[in-house]
Amino acid sequence: MGYPHKPHAKEALVLSQHFGDPDARSLSGWKKRGGYQALEKALGMAPADIVNVVKASGLRGRGGAGFPTGVKWSFMKPGDGKPHYLCCNADESEPGTFKDREIMRWTPHALVEGCAIGSHAIGAETCYIYIRGEFTEPLVRMEAALKEAYDAGILGANAMGTGKRIDIYVHKGAGAYICGEETALMESIEGKRGNPRIKPPFPAVSGVFGKPTTINNVETLAAVPHILMRGAEWYSKLTLSNPKSMGTKLFSVCGNVARPGNYEVVLGFPFKDFLYDLCGGPPPGRKFRAIIPGGSSVPIQTMEEAEATLMDYEGFVAQGTMLGSGGVIIFDDAQNLPRMMARIARFYAHESCGQCTQCREGTAWMTKILERIVAGHGTYEDLDTIFDMSDNMTGRTICVLSDSCAAPVVSAIKKFRGDFEKLIPKKQGTVAVAAD
């Protein structure tokens, strides 16, 4: 639902059906709403069969990368004699994204159930839910739900009386965006600085504590019980256009818009309709100007591109950006775009782990240049320097944080160059005069 607004008729309420309903939080409330039937069913299935159901559903990772979930699960080889681990990525720190916290604070048992099913499917007896330290309420709700589940025998050494062990623990983060990167998340669970690891080896081969591990996003795991109960075919038919993108997605809408909040729509939904109808359009007296639709780590869109977009993985790519985490950041015509980009770059500079020179130096340098431009002391060469730097920051580092810094900044300069040039002082002869 467009939580905290009333559900819009064009939304598809699967994950968000119970947002705003406090009764859904408790174990009894969740069971009343059909909860834990999926887990009971799953525990009676062979892990390989569960994996096949999820594969057939077409579910793709909802954290940002969009990797097919069933395929990811199939990388976990059964019978290798090693302990397997499931990690749930609840580190939600991508600017513009605030959907996982709603899943955790309104339907914590949905996540417990999804994690339990996932654990069984990949042969894991232990699951860590990595929740960022700032998420006070989700932490409380998840701990309470886990306690209820343990007390009711749903989790523990004898999950639902099947003799299988399923342990789920919350691991609280301590303030680091980079710990949302799957290998940095594992480092953080192990009690280290959150420095991403180079891949290969991939987590399914050598993950947390060196053992085979799968990392899934909160929204991805929350979809699993629905898929098991209603069937892979049902899920795979939830699409408005593209046969490669199925299911529903929670889009977090924020910035300069009439009705910010979380909206759940079927993938392939027309973005123009979404923005002007569901989200209420721009604030009174304003026009939409630019959108970063996938959390801040994706290229910015002009309104022309946005209004032609169909909201799925391939649809966003076709219009010059990416679906990413689905955090829709909207800027209206009153915003100073260069200033917004400088602040975005500052975010990445702060959050860089520092391992890779191009990222550590590049994010900081990009921030300084942009802040200088915003302050009126920029040069045209600065824009070329940014393009040059971004080349080194893309595809050449251990993780994609530096790519994520370059993408919105470079695309903003390319698509809204006039905004930046307006701030650059013009030179007459050898004397610089103030910008217009």
Binding site: P95, T136, N256
Partner: protein
């Protein structure tokens, strides 16, 4: 050693109930090192920050060196390596909130707490105000954390009453 020469001597945290809690947490992981973040949270929840003695206590409990523990603390934004005001105010100013007036909320907090600058504790020791990165509540600008309390939809107008309700 901990920079507060007039403070009372450090009282160990990982004793009694907290020790039991730590032992239970240690069962969750195959290594002791993995209990580091949880253990550091215990120190900070009890003492308000992580003093050097806390670092030594955690290191001893987990079989790590104090230098290693310090290295981990310095990575994570939420652990305090110095004492902070009784009410630690963190205002999100990343771009989605920046586009919705977050900077005015920062100014309002600085003005009404008497903190001269970001990061400096107010003269009465009550407040420290800092800017933080995205708090994950972008649809409810501006989110503000005060210690562990998470507030949403904070506007400059609400700041005086928010502060008045703090002890």
């Amino acid at each position: 050693m901990s920079g507060t020469e007039n403070a009372a001597p450090y009282a160990p945290v990982l004793v009694g109930k907290r020790r039991e809690e730590l032992e239970a947490i240690l069962k969750r992981y195959p290594t002791k090192m993995a209990a580091l973040l949880p253990a550091l949270w215990m120190i900070q929840d009890e003492r308000g920050w992580v003093p050097n003695e806390g670092i030594e206590e955690v290191a001893a409990a987990l079989g790590l060196t104090p230098a290693y523990v310090k290295g981990v603390i310095s990575f994570y934004t939420m652990y305090h390596q110095h004492p902070v005001g009784r009410h630690f105010v963190q205002v999100c100013t990343t771009s989605p909130c920046g586009a919705c007036g977050a900077e005015d909320v920062v100014k309002a907090f600085l003005e009404h707490t008497g903190c001269k600058e970001l990061g400096l504790t107010s003269p009465d020791g009550k407040y420290t105000v800092i800017e933080v990165e995205c708090l994950g509540a972008c649809g409810f600008p501006t989110p503000v954390m005060i210690n562990a309390e998470f507030l949403e939809s904070v506007t400059p107008e609400r700041v005086p009453s928010i502060l008045a309700q703090l002890k």
